[in-house]
């Protein structure tokens, strides 16, 4: 017992620790399987330098590359009722939430809202965090979009949203479904104020978000290779009992089927968004270049 604790355990721990460090420094591209150095990947906004695969990226990784000089204000998320259904599956929902917040930071949720300037003009951006319970849409995400819409209307700014979500937050039951309606009200407020609402579809955009705010944009931009669809592929396969067509529900497939306006490389995203919003806001040409 003792020799095990004192001798084997530290050795094991050292082994594990070394492995962790290695994993922290290097990451395997999920597409081409090349090893990528973490710092390079961060600098490239999580785009593989070998195959151009766009890896998933949290809100904190996106905001600095979108706003002018990387300067922006992150907004505190409105408080929502915690676990109104007292939901429990194999685990309590409150415990799942605690774990997710411990991993992603206190006060975090499946979406983050920031504002700042893009091309010299005010802009409001909301970004899903797939790392937080699969970016699932519960009451907090609904509040994020209502907050973003209010900020956009107040500042006469375009609202830009980057969804990345597996769908509804099942542990909030019917209240998660109600976010389909609430987020669409947020979008209507922006549109009715005469302001652009731009959606950037990122990997993955599926389920409830696809049946609401993610498909209501004035313009739908998509990142290359992103999975975009409403029904899950397993559900479809179980229903039709056929193999799915190649590239099914990819950004390129959605482009071919008329659901996406343009597929834009992450490195060209800021410039594209500035150009689109400037044109819609009828700004002079030089503003776009700023």
């Amino acid at each position: 017992m003792n020799w095990l604790t004192n001798f084997v355990r530290p050795k094991l721990r050292a082994l594990v620790a070394r492995k962790e460090t290695a994993e922290n420094l290097w990451l395997k591209c999920p597409k081409c399987e090349q090893m990528l150095f973490h710092r390079d990947l961060d600098a490239a906004q999580q785009v593989c330098s070998h195959c151009d695969h766009h890896l998933r990226i949290p809100p904190a990784g996106r905001f600095p590359h979108l706003f002018d000089e990387g300067i922006f204000e992150r907004h505190a998320l409105p408080k929502v009722q915690l676990d109104p259904l007292k939901f429990r599956d194999q685990k309590r929902y409150t415990d799942r939430l605690k774990e997710a917040q411990a991993k992603n930071g206190a006060g975090s949720e499946a979406m983050a809202v920031a504002s700042g300037k893009m091309g010299g003009h005010a802009a409001v951006i909301a970004v899903s965090d797939f790392g937080f319970m699969g970016g699932s849409m519960g009451m907090a995400v609904g509040e994020c979009l209502l907050l973003a819409a209010n900020l956009a209307v107040e500042r006469k700014a375009p609202m830009i949203v980057f969804p990345a979500s597996g769908g509804a937050r099942m542990q909030e039951g019917i209240l998660s479904l109600m976010q389909l309606a609430r987020t669409s009200i947020a979008v209507s407020r922006v549109k009715e104020a005469g302001l652009p609402y731009i959606v950037v579809l990122t990997d993955p955009t599926t389920g409830g978000v696809t049946a609401s705010f993610a498909m209501l944009g004035d313009i739908h931009v998509a990142e290359p290779g992103a999975l975009i669809g409403f029904s899950g592929q397993r559900v479809i396969q179980d229903t039709i009992r056929e193999t799915l067509p190649p590239g099914f529900q990819s950004a390129e497939y959605q482009f071919d089927h008329g659901m996406v306006d343009t597929i834009v490389h992450r490195h060209a995203m800021r410039e594209t968004l500035i150009r689109i919003t400037s044109l819609l806001m009828k700004r002079p040409a030089q503003a776009a270049a700023a």
Binding site: L85, D89, M170, G173, A214, F230
Partner: protein, 317 residues
């Protein structure tokens, strides 16, 4: 031929005995009539007792009962001069959505319903109530027309969910549902929805982002089917009963959460035992809501609908 649910065994046994006695009864009358009367009282008590304490899963079963009145029964019972209208003007007609114009207790309205079908042939025709994008776009067409002519919109919700298929994805199922929800929330006419059976996810909400959402007593409304929820969170569809309890999908729970605005009581033993009574009760509830909403001007109608949804999430169980 009544279909009995698994928890209705005592009821089916008693009603079986009554049938047998009636069969025998053609010959000598009096004693058998007494016995039938006695058994009938017993079965009535049994039905009341069973239905007074249905579990969430049992409600799901009642909501899916094959003999339950479907959208066509409600339209047939409540809408005079019903004039069905078809097609999305872009791709196809989708019979999973039954819709058109008609007169509800004297006033012209637009009606939209999800129809599951009552036998194999009609179930196939209506795709088991699973709507495709063209169905939602047809619903949008009808809502837009109602808005233009100032007609109230009445919707009957009954679907396990939007159709999950390659063709539906190809034609933008997500966009079609999103567009319907957005449009529901833009209408400047009264929009009243009644969940008559299953309210399954975005496929249901697409025609139910209403001023007033009513539910038949044993109807259910949820973000995903209990089977779907169980297979994701419990990793097996066998836990559907547990999932049904956890999801709080019954009309009384949804009323407490502020999602459901009114519950229409069903005849003892469920709407399928006395469809006419159930449909009339639904009509009375819709008429009462319509009378109140009729006092609001177009902009107030829209704002009230939006504010209702903005306020949802403050109540808990």
């Amino acid at each position: 031929m009544t279909t009995y649910l698994d928890f209705e065994k005592p009821i089916s046994e008693l009603e079986g005995k009554i049938m047998e006695l009636r069969h025998l009864g053609d010959g000598d009358g009096v004693n058998i009539a007494d016995e039938v009367g006695r058994l009938q009282q017993k079965v009535d008590r049994q039905i009341k007792a069973t239905y007074a304490k249905l579990t969430a899963w049992q409600r799901v079963q009642v909501a899916r009962h094959p003999e339950r009145p479907h959208a066509k029964a409600y339209i047939g019972g409540l809408i005079e001069e019903f004039t069905p209208l078809a097609g999305d003007r872009a791709f196809a007609e989708d019979a999973a959505i039954v819709g058109g114009l008609g007169r509800f207790r004297g006033r012209p309205v637009a009606v939209i319903g999800q129809e599951k079908g009552d036998d194999t042939e009609s179930r196939l025709k209506h795709n088991f109530g699973m709507v495709k994008p063209e169905g939602y776009r047809k619903a949008q067409r009808l809502m837009r027309m109602a808005d233009r002519f100032g007609l109230p919109v009445i919707t009957f919700v009954d679907t396990a969910g939007a159709y999950p298929g390659v063709d539906a994805e190809e034609r933008g199922q997500g966009e079609a549902i999103a567009g319907s929800i957005e449009l529901c929330l833009q209408l400047k006419v009264p929009l009243i929805s009644l969940v008559i059976g299953e309210g399954g996810s975005g496929g249901a909400l697409a025609i139910a982002a209403a001023n007033k959402l009513l539910m038949m007593e044993h109807a259910v409304y949820s973000v995903i089917t209990p089977e779907g929820c169980a297979s994701i969170l419990w990793r097996t569809a066998d836990k559907a009963q547990e999932a049904a309890e956890a999801m709080r999908l019954t009309s009384d729970d949804l009323r407490k959460l502020g999602v459901c605005d009114g519950v229409v009581p069903e005849p003892a033993g469920g709407a399928h035992r006395e469809p006419g009574t159930a449909v009339r009760a639904a009509g009375d509830a819709i008429e009462a809501e319509l009378r109140v909403l009729g006092n609001l001007d177009p902009t107030a109608l829209r704002e009230a609908r939006r504010m209702k949804f903005i306020g949802i999430g403050q109540l808990g169980l």
